[in-house]
């Protein structure tokens, strides 16, 4: 179920502007990979290019190769819709669908793609996804109430449940805890630890302690200056990055000397 991602010399453009340049990396399955770096360094852009979500912005394009278990995600015949069904995403701010109940939110991916499933099956999928997102115990008695009535942390876990109900092979998380309080953050971090048994997880975070806590591998992105493209500076085991990084820039960033 879990798949490996390989980027080969990837450039990402918004129109003529080159946002990210020359990124090559391997993201291992059944592991958590964290992207850190200062604001505007292209880590979110790179993350969004992994499931072709950056194409939502008009004029965005990509050069280079991006392979999911050897299959090029940007080959001409590839439909971005199918890519996104395999590579799920959780956003910075919790965004449950306001017109839907908790249960409908979890099943949104299936329902919106017009999959016909029986009521019993739907209950099963919803329970499994909510248990997987560690939310079941809190919402099992109010599945038919609107998702927007939950707290911010619960909403974010609802969004994770919505993403894993699709059974993706990769789960991308774009600063999933930046809008949450420490207790909800802890709940999500625990959840990431469990989810990595089944999924390839990529997480963008501004919180370096969080990267150190949850990830197995860490990639550091940096930018030379405004208007310049972002680069991948260094990628290694999280422990190595946070104790003995190879690059001076990485060390400066994680010790708080800049950024």
């Amino acid at each position: 179920m879990s798949k490996r991602i390989e980027a080969k010399n990837l450039d990402i453009f918004y129109g003529d502007f080159k946002a990210v340049e020359g990124v090559s990396m391997i993201i291992e399955p059944r592991a958590v990979t964290a992207f850190i770096g200062p604001s505007g360094c292209g880590k979110s852009t790179f993350l969004r290019s992994l499931n072709r979500m950056h194409e939502v912005i008009p004029g965005a394009s990509v050069k280079g190769e991006l392979l999911l278990d050897g299959e090029d995600l940007y080959a001409p015949a590839v439909d971005p819709v199918n890519v996104r069904r395999q590579i799920g995403m959780v956003f910075q701010r919790p965004n449950p669908f306001p017109t839907m109940s908790i249960k409908e939110n979890v099943l949104a991916g299936l329902k919106l793609n017009n999959k016909r499933i029986s009521a019993a099956e739907a209950d099963e999928v919803a329970e499994e996804a909510l248990r997987g997102a560690n939310l079941w115990e809190e919402v099992k008695n109010r599945l038919d109430l609107p998702g927007s009535g939950l707290s911010g942390g619960q909403q974010q876990r609802l969004c994770i449940a919505r993403a894993i109900a699709m059974r993706p092979s990769v789960l991308l998380m774009d600063e999933p805890c930046s809008a949450l309080d420490p207790i909800s953050t802890l709940a999500i971090e625990d959840l990431i630890g469990t989810l990595k048994n089944d999924y390839t997880i990529v997480i963008v975070t501004h919180n370096m302690q969080q990267a150190a806590r949850v990830s197995d591998t860490t990639a550091f992105f940096n930018i030379a200056g405004t208007g310049q493209p972002g680069h991948l500076i260094e990628m290694d085991d999280t422990k190595t990055i946070f104790t003995t990084p190879n690059e001076k820039a990485t060390e400066d960033y994680i010790t708080g000397r800049f950024g």
Binding site: V56, N95, F97, P98, T99, A108, N113, L145, P146, S148
Partner: protein, 352 residues
């Protein structure tokens, strides 16, 4: 000691007018205004009201300024202006509603809903042909305008960019400003070209009203689609939902309550149109069951016809005109109520 404490600018307490001062000033200024008006000559309500307002403002500003200081006095003065403007805006509304109700109830009987004006000369008769015509013509105009307007709005907010979208936006804006008689002439001319001169029909009336309704629907729907948060679209795309289904299942349902309200307002805007229907749908005294041929009466043209071409006795014609107007107002009110109920039913649930 207390005097210095009060005059100090950092004092937390300030003088306050007693609670009864506002109602007392209102009553007092009205009484004074009525008295002055009576002394000046025959009683005049409008003059008394203006006078009462001026007296109230002056008295309040002075008394509050003396007791409470300039900031509170200005606050009371502005509050007075705001409430005054509100009452002024309310006057014509209540006046029109009350007059129409008072004059319209005279013929608000079963016969009015049972009879047309066919073979009626003088008393009796009714407006069933006009009610039928209004419902048909407005209904078909809505059926034409809502799909066209909705799809245009979806194109503009979800797909359109570049010259085409800018051009459409421009022409929609221009369409909003078309005088309604021009819309009527357009429908009349179109039917003349297609079916020969002098063709009037209910359908032609619907076309004229659609020209007026489409831009209103486009503008209101486009605004509402634009305020649907982008995060919801992204959340849907990230689940592998195609764009068209995202629009259909996420964007439209999120905005539906506002869209319905906008459509109802657009209907209310066109249901009272008179001029284009005179040209495009014509006049008749009997019910016309054929929507595509022959003239069709509507309530606004009925009111105009009854009032403008009075027979004998003239009161019967004027009474019918009032009742027609009353029914039109009732229909618009009912539409607004339905719109509110529908909007409430579909509004995104907050769950708290």
């Amino acid at each position: 000691m207390t005097a210095t404490a009060l005059s100090k600018s950092d004092s937390l307490t300030a003088g306050q007018l007693p609670r009864w001062s506002t109602p007392a000033t209102v009553v007092g200024s009205i009484a004074l205004a009525v008295l002055v008006t009576l002394l000046l000559g025959p009683f005049n309500v409008g003059l008394a009201a203006v006078l009462a307002f001026v007296i109230y403002q002056v008295v309040t500003y002075c008394s509050s300024g003396l007791v409470e200081g300039p900031r509170r006095a200005t606050d009371r003065l502005m509050t007075g202006f705001i409430i005054g403007a509100f009452l002024l805006a309310l006057v014509p509304l209540i006046w029109v509603a009350a007059t129409t109700l008072a004059n319209g109830l005279g013929r608000f009987d079963l016969a009015f809903f049972n009879n047309s004006m066919r073979n009626v000369d003088g008393v009796g008769g009714g407006a069933v042909h006009a009610i039928y015509g209004t419902l048909m013509i407005t209904g078909v105009a809505t059926l034409i305008s809502v799909p066209v307007g909705l799809l245009t709005a979806i194109y503009l907010s979800e797909y359109g960019r570049g010259h085409l979208a800018r051009g459409i936006t421009f022409f929609v804006d221009v369409m909003t400003g078309i005088p309604s008689i021009v819309a009527g002439l357009f429908a009349y001319a179109l039917m003349t070209l297609l079916l020969g001169p002098g063709t009037v029909s209910g359908f032609s009336g619907s076309l004229a009203l659609s020209v007026l309704m489409i831009p209103v629907v486009v503008r209101s729907t486009e605004e509402l689609l634009r305020i649907v948060p982008n995060e919801l679209r992204e959340a849907s795309y990230a689940l592998g939902v195609p764009k068209w289904r995202t629009i259909l299942r996420i964007v439209l349902p999120t905005a539906v309550s506002g869209i319905v309200a906008g459509v109802i307002l657009a209907i209310a805007r066109i249901i009272g149109e008179t001029a284009p229907l005179m040209v495009a749908a014509g006049f008749t005294q009997s019910i016309n069951m054929s929507f595509f041929s022959g003239p069709m009466m509507t309530l606004p043209t009925f009111v105009y016809d009854q009032y403008a071409y009075r027979g004998l006795p003239p009161e019967a014609f004027v009474d019918r005109a009032w009742t027609g107007a009353l029914i039109l107002i009732l229909i618009v009110m009912a539409l607004n109520l339905i719109g509110r109920l529908v909007a409430k039913r579909f509004a995104p649930k907050s769950g708290r």
